[in-house]
């Protein structure tokens, strides 16, 4: 039997507020343990939490940017469970009246467009961090240590419908959510810090069936690679179980990125077991159409719109536009390069080839690039004006990448890399090359037109790459 995977994601994103969701403690990452805590986030008796207005604003913006309906009446609820990272024994979250519902985002995989629906977006608080005395929970007989700095850091949980059917689609969806959250500037989305993490639900069903199979859940996936690996492993595992006549058990599984496998953790508690109840300490959030619209007006251009603009106004291919707008940093860098007056297609090529290659090799992001957008743009302008060839452009780029902080123009002048367009000077070199390469000349004259390539190469070499290749070609053809 052929099976189809059905995948849904719950993405947790930490919001980039200065303070926590219900108290004035800082949210900064990396502080010494238990120094960003107060009676409210420690869950001491008798305290009164107060909602951080910025959290509501960010959640509403996330809802608007993902085409959700904003609920004009929204409230918090208590989700009860016992775990030492949760000092109150409940997580303050939203249950039946979340801030936003019924959204959708578009993704593209292998040139095919798809829409993924969002069930809801709700606000909640993060839990603390457990440090185990052993390697795992189970071998930590000496106990565990808790740091409550992260307790109360604001999160939004973005719940998708089970609309995805492959690891690639799930990845494209999560990349789109990440891009949107970056563009609207509500989350840092640093996956390695746990800013953005996903719980994945995967089930299989026979192709053609519209009934959902039993699903398993994998929690806290915080890299795109782990997301794809976990889904692919789980699809394969479930398929084997089903083909052997077995049944999938509804359970939470943990993904071990080192071994690339998922392992059973515990069977899923029923939703009812959380005994949700309205949070009596937090009054409801009531919003008017005007407020919602004013948040909508504050939204910047979103990734899909930016991608279309690059295609329609600048004539870039859908692929190039997609790559350049996939992250806010890249889109801003590209826009800054264009501000220098550089040609859009050349700028796209340089960013996607030389710059991307160097960034990947150095494992840094584009906003950390030693070659800033302005200097790259000015270098591209020099190529467009014919001051340097693109070959010399690569040398200028390498020079800037390796720490030369001068402008492209100064580097070119200092190094004497200005392209020779003086026909007389090039003609001299061409004549010398023709004289020295009798065989290639003879081949060319005998009808082997390709032989001219070797001669062009010789001229370029003799000119140290500075001769204008087009002029060289013209002169060679003429003089031969």
């Amino acid at each position: 039997m052929k099976y189809e995977a059905v995948i849904g994601l719950e993405i947790h994103s930490e919001l980039k507020t200065t303070t926590k969701i219900f108290c004035g403690c800082k949210t900064a990452f990396g502080a010494e343990q238990n120094t960003q805590v107060c009676p409210v986030c420690l869950g001491l008796p008798g305290v009164l939490p107060t909602i951080n207005k910025k959290v509501v604003e960010f959640a509403v913006k996330a809802g608007l940017a993902t085409n959700c309906t904003i609920n004009k009446y929204s409230k918090f609820d208590r989700k009860n469970y016992y775990y030492p990272d949760l000092p109150k024994n409940w997580q303050t979250s939203q249950y039946d009246l979340p801030i936003a519902e019924h959204g959708h985002v578009d993704i593209e995989v292998n040139g095919e467009k798809k829409t993924v629906r969002l069930t809801r977006i709700h606000m909640e608080e993060d839990a603390g961090k457990l440090v185990h005395s052993g390697n795992t929970i189970k071998d930590s007989a000496a106990g565990s240590f808790v740091d409550y700095n992260r307790t109360g850091v604001p999160l939004i949980e973005i719940v998708s419908e089970p609309d995805m059917h492959s690891a690639a689609e799930a990845r494209a969806y999560m990349e789109k959510i990440k891009a949107i959250l970056e563009y609207i500037d509500v989350s840092n989305c640093r996956m390695e810090e746990g800013n953005l993490r996903a719980d994945i639900n995967v089930s299989l069903r026979p192709v053609g069936s519209d009934k959902l199979g039993t699903r398993t859940e994998m929690k806290n996936i915080n890299s795109f690679k782990a997301l794809e690996d976990a889904i692919n492993y789980e699809i394969e595992r479930q398929q084997e179980v089903l083909e052997d006549g077995g049944k999938i058990i509804q359970e939470t599984r943990t993904f071990d990125p080192e071994r690339g496998v998922t392992l059973s953790m515990r069977s899923k508690e029923n939703a009812d077991d959380y005994r949700y109840m309205p949070e009596p300490d937090l009054p409801p959030i009531v919003m008017t159409d005007e407020e919602i619209e004013s948040y909508r007006r504050e939204l910047p251009e979103l990734p899909d719109a930016a991608c279309l603009r690059l295609q329609n106004e600048l004539g870039l291919s859908a692929y190039d536009a997609g790559v350049l707008t996939a992250s806010r940093q890249t889109a801003q860098y590209f826009d800054a390069v264009l501000k220098t007056g550089a040609d859009a297609k050349l700028a796209a090529n340089w960013i996607m080839s030389d710059l991307a290659k160097n960034l990947n090799a150095a494992e840094i992001t584009i906003d950390q690039s030693p070659v800033d957008a302005k200097r790259l743009g000015e270098m591209i302008l020099l190529i467009s004006k014919g001051t340097i060839s693109s070959k010399i452009g690569k040398k200028v780029f390498a020079e800037m990448w390796d720490g030369n902080t001068d402008s492209a123009e100064k580097i070119v002048a200092d190094k004497g890399w200005v392209q020779i367009t003086d026909t007389g000077a090039i003609e001299q070199i061409v004549k010398e090359v023709i004289a020295k390469n009798e065989k290639a000349v003879a081949d060319y004259k005998n009808g082997n037109k390709k032989a001219i390539g070797a001669l062009v190469g010789q001229v370029m070499k003799a000119s140290q790459g500075k001769a204008n290749p087009q002029t060289v070609n013209e002169l060679l053809t003429k003089l031969l």
Partner: protein, 96 residues
């Protein structure tokens, strides 16, 4: 709806309460009285009444995103039954 011994055991487990053997019958009776009371309320016609989600007439109580002083690590840990190296120390967390 009738509360059974199993329901009681489940609710007690979810609340991490240990019940003595002799207490069970009393709790089952109390819980059944509560359920009966709610059943009585359910007789009212509430079709055209918005559900109450918050008992007071307040809404939109917010604070600005401004830092307020936190406790020191020492203060935070001062009431902890067990601590080590600036952390709250808890007994082994068992996976269920």
């Amino acid at each position: 709806m009738k509360i059974t011994k199993d329901d009681l055991a489940n609710v007690a487990y979810l609340s991490r309460l240990a019940l003595d053997d002799g207490e069970e019958e009393n709790y089952i009776k109390d819980l059944n009285d509560i359920v009966a009371y709610v059943d009585k309320l359910s007789e009212l016609d509430t079709d055209n009444i918005m559900p109450t989600t918050y008992a007071l007439a307040t809404e939109n109580v917010f604070r600005e995103d401004e830092v307020r002083p936190s406790l020191t690590q020492e203060e935070a840990l001062s009431t902890a039954p067990d601590k080590e190296n600036g952390y709250f120390k808890v007994p082994q967390v068992l996976a269920e």
